[in-house]
Symmetry: C2
Subunit: 469 residues, 2 copies
Amino acid sequence: MNSLHTSIDTLFPPRISEILAMEPQEQMLTVCGWLRTHRDSGSLSFLELNDGSSLENLQILIENNTTGWSNLHKLIHTGAALEVRGSLQPSPAKGQRLELRAESIVLVGEADAASYPLQKKRHSFEFLRTITHLRSRTNALGAVARIRNILSFAIHRFFRDHGFIQVHTPIITTSDCEGAGEMFTVTTLTAPSSDNEFNYQRDFFGQHAGLTVSGQLQAEVYALSHSRVYTFGPTFRAENSNTTRHLAEFWMLEPEMAFCDLQGNMQVAEALLRFLINTVLEEGAADLALFDRHIEAGLLRKLATLCSQKFQHLSYSEAIDALEKSGRAFEYPVHWGMDLQAEHERFLCEELVQGPLFVTNYPATIKPFYMRLDEGEKTVAAMDLLVPGIGELIGGSQREERLDILQARMQGAGLDPAKYDWYLDLRRYGSVPHAGFGLGFERLVQFCTGLANIRETIPFPRSPGQAPC
Amino acid sequence: MNSLHTSIDTLFPPRISEILAMEPQEQMLTVCGWLRTHRDSGSLSFLELNDGSSLENLQILIENNTTGWSNLHKLIHTGAALEVRGSLQPSPAKGQRLELRAESIVLVGEADAASYPLQKKRHSFEFLRTITHLRSRTNALGAVARIRNILSFAIHRFFRDHGFIQVHTPIITTSDCEGAGEMFTVTTLTAPSSDNEFNYQRDFFGQHAGLTVSGQLQAEVYALSHSRVYTFGPTFRAENSNTTRHLAEFWMLEPEMAFCDLQGNMQVAEALLRFLINTVLEEGAADLALFDRHIEAGLLRKLATLCSQKFQHLSYSEAIDALEKSGRAFEYPVHWGMDLQAEHERFLCEELVQGPLFVTNYPATIKPFYMRLDEGEKTVAAMDLLVPGIGELIGGSQREERLDILQARMQGAGLDPAKYDWYLDLRRYGSVPHAGFGLGFERLVQFCTGLANIRETIPFPRSPGQAPC
């Protein structure tokens, strides 16, 4: 049996992150990567090699009289792909523990010094956005990719460890969860049928279909069969707004839990966020330090504080009270029934409680139909988690599980209950109190990196007029 | 610090899968779930409760003279949500080790016996497809959800353990990877601008955009910065074909590896598949046994065999030879240069080698532009993995890393190199041999469950005319 187990660990050369953790050794190593910089010093050349496995480069040393090197030397520029063979030795110089003394270097792929856009100097994020296909080769964007990977796996681990199963909810849908009318249309029609009108009955799905704005309604289906589920995937907004906080395509995490109320919902959200931040602090320390140094001073302290801080709770009514008593002149005047604006959220979170804050029980009139109506019928069992610097990171609610109230709320929202009959069935048959929330993954990456523009947090950002690659 | 760690494990009652693994105990337990069936026997009622955590139900026993029970009894039907409190005792009856002796039962949500579509009898998959919002409550579809969850997490674990990072490649794209013209259009246009023509310059992205058919090209970007990456997410085909093997929306896993050739690519594919099958055999045994019993006799043996079998290799030319020498009368006549049809794949895989088979080095004319041209220039470094009963489960290749050859292949395929200039940049700057493959996740679920129709393998299937929920 053993001989049949294909080992892939010997298939690839060791990654630089692995090499940097090794002890010095005489045994020859082969390492592959891309040249970041190089310089000559006396009879030696120094090369900085990176393979994306860590922020840190591996320093390569080669004697200039090594056979073949003097010719190769002239061809090697920043961005070139190299295969290096050498022995790992303690580095006498400052800045690194180890260096690889090269016995041979192979130039695998050239990079022309005159035209390669990523030279040693620092580039603005604006410029890097024009070369999304190359920017992952920079320190900052390379680090974002590793942070995303850590957070993404941590999400799966958290939910697996707590008995949730992942459900792949659909991207193409005929249900508009938020009823906000900001859906992209998905179509195979290439021309209208008559009078500039589209006949979606002739379209691929036989009706109008769009890109999902949330997997929640479908996640509820599985919460009512499998108790605790989550969906984690791309979601979409056809909002024509070019801001540093919005993307047309972004990843959203949405857990959904049967036999769970608003309190339980907030406990899960808090435990999740603590776990994710703890994990990224442990596994992404070197990358986070880069962002702390160059992007957001105090980032590491901010993250560590969040893990040790108690999350505060305020009802919406208490929040309005506090805003009214603050004596602040807000741009948007404060009154009960309004939606909280960024300036209000910042005051509450960053000044009033100075830490993560759950605001709960918002007016029913400003929240979607599926949120559970509180006693008194003025508010719903909603919660938003505000965090410093970001504002709303998580939004959720207990869901309305009572059929008659849900039907009335749908009608009030102008939705056609017939179209959501399948959703109502979940209240007709074995309905239970249940709750869930949505966490915008790129907002989380922004929180963990301090990046000002959300377009740096996702590999290939999509926004109005922008979908290169 | 400890007191701040919100524990969510005490938040929820134990799941039935956990209870079924406990020892009998006097301490009272609370359990929540949905009623599958119930029956009376003498002075006792027996209820079968399921919460989606396992195929197995928890048997609940209640004495008919328990206070309040006689009234409740009449209201409780299949599908009802219940909260039960009782003590866990050894079961004297056959069929289960434990049972819960109920002290109290709360009816959380009713299910009307006359109208609830899921009564005790078995339902056809065709019927269940008309109620995708309820079908996850059945044994078979509930098991599919757990199998998907096991496989999905195993994918993340495999790649993490081998130094890959996950990249979230975009859904909305302006690049058509396969050049097959089977993309859905994504638009916010509601009317043509003139003469029934769409002016996509006026559209959201300022040009025509569609739903991705593969994340490969974008994964290559990250393979050339981070060495080993994978993307796992939804992909789309606007193929107007209603078969048991195709979906308009499906999940695809696509690893991409720098410094890797076709041989390495196949080794990773083989190691991955063995790991996934081993994991599902270990963690999904009870669910797989259901499919072995009712859907595909011999399923468990088939899966165990795959893990212990050597994967065979044939070049395309050798495969054509074997087909010609087989003496079989195929519907599609065999000749070098043809694409292999299902009948040919079945013969090669199920009869000739009787196990998993890599077919490699296909004619360049029938494969996409990005596959690496072999010496002789007639074939490309492609590989398809065929498995019994399914046919092609994995398809991949070494990628063309040589700029001039790639440009020529693009032109040959009728693509505009200017549009793929970003992709060509990957060959201009630090190009390296690299390779990757795609694994259709729903095909894998089909292979693991034996389900005949792929629409049972995904929670909310999308196909021509079909996008409910």
